[in-house]
């Protein structure tokens, strides 16, 4: 039933007339700061700093990092919940800050809908599940008649595996399991005919035995519906299972990005290596790793220049304390923000 994700991604989607070289989504030095404290203790929390990433057509990009690293802030910036402090988001080559009319706004949110982490809180409990999906079709595709809307709802429920669709549509959220509710979330997104689904930790609240089903659904949406997905997660194993590319965030900045298998087999950033070493693997031989990092993630309040990982990094050199490393190419499509790796030295931190 499952098609395994192709690690290198599809080169081009046939049929769709796209300007070559224009990624579906691109952020350019995206930055979001929050003011905290009162007038006397005014400080700035850097949630997202100079993040430039892209998502191509029919591509699943995993955005991974620990809690507090800014992943969800990026999702909210993409969904226009927050306005960027600086930087820009380009969708199909057009800056989204230029969206002003309600119809353009609707069009954008229909093309790039979001699926949330908590399937128990993100569906209105007092309506049947058909309500949400029919409403999103009505709002985003007003040209459809009510008959067509219902047929579209049946179709998307079928696609996400909620069968028999006609039966499930009549149910209330509390009658569905967590996995089924999360499928409803994907169905609602899919009903808008999206090009990109922003999925913020969509499986982290589900039981292990049903997570795989949702991950398989994501690859199916890419392969059969041609949807791109920005998969936000802290779980590298599931990221590897579904995604074509991996982007690692640390303390509001990008640390490393590249094709999934390339980054996992040749991680260049010490933080990526730390993350990889921490993934529990029951199939790995017995034995507790010798080196274990006990550092805490930094609070990015009024950060000073320099690499934000330097306090936890066993390889930190002098320049790391004074100059913030920028993302630089280090291999084919592989970028890293680490002075040591950029100098060409072998990085083996964890």
């Amino acid at each position: 039933m499952t098609v395994l994700p192709d690690s290198l991604g599809q080169p081009d989607s046939p049929g769709e007339p796209e300007v070559p070289g224009t990624p579906l989504l691109r952020t350019d030095s995206l930055t979001r700061h929050f003011k905290i404290g009162n007038a006397l203790t005014r400080r700035t929390l850097h949630a997202v700093d100079e993040v430039s990433l892209s998502v191509g057509n029919r591509e699943i990009v995993a955005l991974a990092g620990e809690s507090g690293s800014g992943k969800s802030t990026i999702a909210r910036l993409l969904a226009k919940v927050y306005k960027p402090t600086s930087g820009e988001i380009y969708f199909e080559g057009k800056p989204i800050s230029s969206i002003s009319s309600r119809s353009d706004q609707l069009r954008y949110s229909g093309l790039a809908p979001m699926v949330f982490q908590d399937p128990f809180a993100s569906i209105n409990p007092v309506f049947r599940v058909s309500h949400g999906v029919l409403r999103s079709v009505k709002l985003h595709r007003p040209e459809l008649s009510s008959r067509q809307r219902y047929e579209e709802a049946l179709r998307v429920f079928d696609v996400v595996g909620l069968t028999p669709a006609a039966d499930v549509l009549q149910r209330y959220p509390h009658e569905l399991s967590g996995g089924q509710r999360q499928r409803v979330g994907f169905a609602q997104a899919l009903a808008m005919r999206p090009k990109l689904i922003i999925a913020d930790e969509p499986v982290s609240m589900l039981d292990v035995s049903i997570r795989i089903g949702l991950l398989n659904l994501m690859t199916k949406l890419r392969d059969e519906e041609g949807v791109s997905i920005l998969y936000i997660t802290h779980d590298l194993a599931s990221a590897r299972y579904v995604a074509d590319r991996l982007v690692i965030m640390y303390a509001a900045r990008l640390a490393e990005s590249g094709p999934m298998e390339e980054v996992l087999t040749r991680p260049k950033h010490p933080y990526t290596q730390l993350l990889l070493s921490a993934v529990p693997d029951p199939r790995a031989p017995l034995g507790v790793g010798a080196e274990t990092d006990r550092g805490e993630p930094p609070k990015v309040i009024d950060p000073t220049p320099g690499c934000r990982f330097r306090w936890r990094c066993p390889l930190a050199i002098e320049v790391c304390h004074t100059v913030t490393p920028q993302m630089e190419p280090i291999g084919p499509a592989h970028e890293v923000a680490c002075h040591v790796a950029q100098s060409g030295a072998e990085v083996k931190a964890f």
């Binding site: 994700p5 620990e66 569905l176 795989i212 921490a278 693997d281 029951p282 274990t292």
Partner: protein, 373 residues
Amino acid sequence: MSSRAEPQPVTAEHALRIGGKLRRLRGGQASAAQDTPIDIAPPPPAGSVLDVRDLSVEYLLESGVVRAVDQVSFSLRAGEFLAVVGESGCGKSTLLFAVAQLLSPPAEITGGTVVFRGRNMVGMTDSALTAIRWKDFSVVMQSAMNALNPVKSIGAQFRDAMRAHGTTSKAEIAARSAEVMRMVGIDPVHLSSYPHQLSGGMRQRSMIAMALLFTPELVIMDEPTSALDVVAQRSLMVQIKELQEQFGFAVIFVTHDMSLVSHFSEHLMVMYAGQVAERGPTRQVFDSPAHPYTIGLMDAFPSIREERRALKGIPGRPPDLARLPHGCRFAPRCPKVMQRCKEEPPELYQLGSIDVRCFLYDPAAPADQGSAP
């Protein structure tokens, strides 16, 4: 994969009320118990610290009786690490609350014994329990964010627990509090911090520090790492293991994440729908899982290092405990289901050092029904 939407099953968590229980557990009402002798029977030499026999817990609901834990038995020796894994609603948290005698209505222990250091805790009076709770066994709750009192500093909460058990000297309390904080790798200055000032990892660590204020023989942990990311999770697990080796307490560790405990526990117990599905030495269960449910669970984790391959997970979902299937409870989801599985419930069969509840391993089964695959 999920086909029919069925009504939401009654899960064990519904009736748990953690807040009030925890207060009681930490010894909020300990006064009466101070002069009761704590040790009546000495721990049996080289024997078990905890011995649970045929423990059953039922929820007495308006809609009927729901058996959330069904005749579970296990025993734990000093310094052992037992992991209990299963999906949500399989009864693992209820089991843990029953062992700690923390159930509140409508949940009730309806059968079996929990023998801790030679004394049966089922039916023990509150004052007798208060004397041993936290002092001899402690509980680390799932969410330290909610288990810690938000309006009291960490140090004040430590002080409460110690005073409740008769330690009144300020110097002694301060010294011990600082000591346990150092044990879990937190600077003792954080004793004056409030929970919201600490990161998730530090909050969980301070919960563990609180659990070690006395020198318990048993620490019960309910998913203590589930709110943490992988790096913090791993470092906390390593730390728990080190502390355990240092102080020799036994651990019951409840989790839904099987891969997490693979390197840390000696014994593994897989629960399904309130029953033990499989139990045995962790490594053996991981190397050759016997029960189709365990095999399914093992197959639900994508690997980070092995070759990428398609996984299926386990189709369907756990049964509603109020409407259990007639035969094997896993039969509706089982890829190896046989006619017999739908007709009668399987018992726990012994398979080497593993116990497994599956007819595939019934030694008395007719040969044509298939023995071990």
